[in-house]
Structure formats: structure tokens, C-alpha cells
Amino acid sequence: MASYRTPLGRARGLGSAKHGAAEWLAEKYVTLSLVPLTLWAVFGVLRLATLDYAGAVAWVSSPLNATLLVLTIALSFWHMHRGMRVVVEDYIHKKNSKLALLLLNFIVCGLPGALAVFSILKVAFGGGAY
């Protein structure tokens, strides 16, 4: 089928999306935030390992711990979605497999991430399930 579009019309809109710098900066901010957050989380794991169920619930219920947990989990899942997306884009070149894996990555990061955040909030607000 012959195209009646002018060469200029075909070229328009194919350039930069104009928000690359913001995306890049967002990635850097999140990554740098994850340095202190995840280091704190390592100490959290060491602390939680010494606690029983009631102790773990009390630890998670503290406002500071609950907030830092939610931030750590949300930013980590965001970060790993970005990372795995780059891996898929680098190695998978068949269009359908790539789309399927990108969608799978979105679901695997989105659903467990949301479940984890909801669970932390449920424990923090409700004091665990007794």
C-alpha cells in the first residue's frame, strides 16, 4: 500500500521522548536511597532473627521500622523491575518473547511488592494476626 505521508510527517515524533534525564535521575535517587535503607534492613534481619512471632510483630509495628520497611520494599521492587527490564531488553530480541517477559517482570515485581507492603501495613496497624 502506498503511503501518502510526507517524509517530514513520517519522521515527526520518532526522536527523544524528552524525559530521559528525569528517568535517569530517578534511577540514581532510588539507587542511592537504597544504600542506607538496605544496610538498615540487614541489621533489621539480624534483629528479627532473635525475635519470636510476638517480638517480630512489635518490631514491625514501631512507626520508624514500619516506614523504613515500606520504603525499602517499595524502592527495591521498583529498582529490580528496572534492572530486570534492562536484562530482558539486552538478551531477548524476539518481539513476542520480549513482550511476554517484560509483562511477566512487571507482574512478578508488582504483585509480590504490593503484597509485601500491604502485609507490613496490616501488621503495623493491626498488631499481627493472633
Partner: protein, 133 residues
Amino acid sequence: MSEARIRERPTSPHLTVWRWHITMAASILHRVTGVGLYLGALIVAAWAVALASGPEAYADFRGLIGSPLGKLVLFGMTLSFFYHLASGVRHAVWDLGYGLKVRSANALAMASFAFAIAASLAVWVIAFVTGVL
């Protein structure tokens, strides 16, 4: 045209033509540990869901993670985490425009490996001393 399509096209040099060097290993390891930590984040999500589900689910989770296989996975996650962290800081240093000469890039890679091993051992010694293991 059809002949050109059938004939194998020249490709750019890939992994097999390079002698292994430390920054190459550091870069590959950054990606491998990132993919490993993907699984680690799912373990963290399982922990949160188990905690919210009640004492029985939490005991099951602790039993699984406290088993020899669970501890082995956790040790691998510790190494992966500290390496990915150090290597991420290495990337941040590069983003600021420093450490890009061969010598300093090699040193940064070595430092990342050393930090990962030292920090992982430190965490597991702390776990052992506090009676977690």
C-alpha cells in the same frame, strides 16, 4: 539481495574473543547478583506475608529459612547483596566522573569484591555470636 540475506553477516566481537579481566568479571557479577537478589526480594515478600498471616505461617517460614538449604541460600544472598551494593556505589562514582582510568577501575572492582566478602563474613559472625545460627 537474497544472497546477502542468506550469507552469514559479520558480527562484532563478543565474550569469547576477550581475555578475562577484572572489570569484565565485576560487570558480569553485578548483573548476576542483581538477578539473584530478584529472588531474594521475593523471599522478603514471603516473610512479610507470613508475618501478616499469623504465628503458624511465620513458624513455617522460619523453619524453611532456618534449614541448612535455607541458610545456604541466605549466605548466597548476603554475598550477592554486599557485592551488588559495593558495585552500585562503584557505578555512582563513575557517574560523578571519577575512577574511570584503567588502574582506578581495576582498584574499584577489587575493592567491591573485598568488601562483599568481608561484610558477608562480618554479618554471619554477628549472627553466630548473637546466637541466631
